[in-house]
Amino acid sequence: MNAKTLALVVAFTVTFFVPAAVKAAEVRSLRGADVDTQDVAPETYRLQDGVALDRAFRQQPPLVPHQVEKYEIDLKVNQCVRCHEWPNSDKEKTVKMSDFHYIDQDGVVRDVVDGRRYFCLACHVPQLDAKPLVDNEFRAAGK
C-alpha cells in the first residue's frame, strides 16, 4: 500500500463512516427506548360497572355504566333502545331515553327515535377509569 492509497482510504473513512457513527450516538428514539426493546402494552382500562360517574358539564351525554360491545345497532335493530325506550324502560327498570331523542330535524316530535340520535354510542360511551393522556387544566363544572 503506497502513501496515496492510504490517504484515499483515510479520506473515505473520515468522509462516510465517522459522521454516521457520531450521528448514531446522538439519535434518541421518540419512545425513549432502544430499537430492540419490546413495547409494553398499556394497561387496559377497567369498565366502571355498577356505579354512575358524575357528568363533568351540563350538556355531557351521560356515560354508560355497563358493557356495550356486544350490542347490535344496525338498520334492523338497536339493542340499546330495546331497554332504554319507554315502555320497556319501566319494565326493565332502566334509565329512560330523553324525549329530545324523538324530535326530528323539523322540530316535530315523533314516536320513534330520530335518525340523528339512533347511534347511541356516538355520544354515550362506556365509563372507564381513563386518565387524561396529557396534563390539562380542565375542571368539571361545579367542582
Binding site: D49, G50, H66, K70, E72, L75, K76, V77, Q79, R82
Partner: protein, 209 residues
Amino acid sequence: MKDSQTGKDSLWQRLWSPSARWSVGALLAAGIVIGVVGWMGFDSALTWTNTEQFCLSCHEMRDNVYQEYRGTIHDINRTGVRAVCADCHVPKPLIAKLVRKVKAAKEVWGKATGSVDTREKFENERIRLALNEWKRMKESDSRECRSCHVFDAFDLARQQKRAQVKHTEAETSGETCIDCHKGIAHRLPAGAYEAEAEFNKKWAQSHKR
C-alpha cells in the same frame, strides 16, 4: 298361501313360519348382532348430523348464521369450550332429539327448493325462523341453554351487578334464558322487538296461571 305352479310358500309366508333350519340360539345371536350394529349405525348417523362440519356443508348455514356466530362468546373464548350449532339447536334427550331431527327434514326440503339460498331471501324469512326458535326454547324452558348453564351453579357474586339483579329476578319470577338472551349468537331479524312483544303477549294469554 302356496304358489299354485311351483308349490312353494310365498316370501311373506316363509317370513312368518318357524325356522326348521336355524336354532333359536343362532337366530337370537344374529338378531342381537344386527340390533347392536344397527343401533350403532343409527347413533353414528345422529352424531354425524350433529357436527359443525355437517351443518356448514350447506352454504345457507355457512354464509348466514355461521358468519354471525363467528367471534361470539360461544364460538371463541378464553378456555376454548365451544357450543356449536347442535348444542343449542338440537335437544340432548333422545325422544326430543328424534322429534327435532324429523322436523329438520323440512330443512332438507328447503335446501332442495332453495327457500333461503340468498342473503335477501334469508333476511326475509328470518323473523319467522327466529320466532320458531324462540318458541321452541320457551316451550322447553331453554333446555339447551341449561344443559351447560345451570342456574343453581351461578356464582352471582362474580357476575356484573346488572346481571346479578336480573338473574335473581328471573329465577324468582320463573323466567327462562331466551326471555332476555335473544340474538346472542346470531344477529336479530328486522322488527325483532315488535315480534318479541307480540310473542310475549300471546304466550301470556295462552299460559295464564
